[in-house]
């Protein structure tokens, strides 16, 4: 298993830049193991929990917090 870490810095509702991170766990040797961009994983949600899992967290004044929940399903993210 490998872990890939993706960064995102984007404004929140108040226009303040917020650090986000997506931590992706990928089964070694799976087709998803060749992905190098977060968009690749987002485009392969049918492989969720079979080849990879992810957690999306944001850095707040309180520390890192889940944007929604731990190991949230992709279809819950929007």
């Amino acid at each position: 298993m490998t872990i890939e870490i993706f960064f995102q810095v984007s404004p929140d509702g108040a226009g303040v830049d917020v650090d986000r991170a997506v931590l992706v766990y990928v089964l070694t040797g799976s087709p998803s193991g060749t992905f190098s961009r977060l968009q690749d994983f987002e485009g392969a949600v049918d492989k969720w929990a079979e080849e990879f899992l992810w957690i999306q967290i944001a850095l707040t004044r309180f520390g890192w917090r889940y944007e929604q929940a731990v190991f949230v399903f992709p279809y819950d993210t929007d």
Binding site: I3, I5, A21, Y25, T60, F71, D76
Partner: protein, 130 residues
């Protein structure tokens, strides 16, 4: 376990390293790697405490500075205490999703619409490599 880091993207204006300071970036990556590994280990140990560490506390959600990030946990109905209780309850959906594949499969049989077939094996099985 190997850890790979990427900020490559087709839209560099959206995805980029969080800081121009390389030292800060290295520290951030180390921190995130530790978080990721800690969460994986917690699932394998069936230990909810490390998982709870990154949930919004109820007091934080009411802090004005939380802004758009001060969202309830999970599906919008959870509180820190309720999530903690769910994680501690082996019969809860959340506990099944994270810690008990057999329980999750039973739930899927009872309510196929609630849990997709694609997630019939979830966190702990995933981290165990099945």
């Amino acid at each position: 376990m190997d850890v790979f880091v990427s900020n490559a993207a087709s839209e560099p204006q959206l995805w980029r390293a969080p800081s121009p300071n390389k030292i800060d970036e290295v520290r951030r990556l180390e921190e995130l790697s530790q978080i990721a590994e800690g969460l994986r280990a917690a699932v394998l140990r069936k230990d909810p405490e490390p998982l709870l560490k990154y949930y919004w506390r109820d007091a934080e959600k009411s802090d004005p500075s939380s802004g758009a990030w001060g969202l309830p946990n999970a599906d919008g109905t959870g509180t820190y205490e309720s999530e903690k209780a769910h994680l501690a309850n082996p019969a809860s959906a959340l506990s099944c999703l994270l810690f008990d594949t057999a329980c999750l499969r039973a739930m899927a049989c009872q309510n196929a619409a609630m849990i997709q077939d694609s997630v019939s094996q979830f966190a702990i099985s995933f981290f165990q490599g099945r």
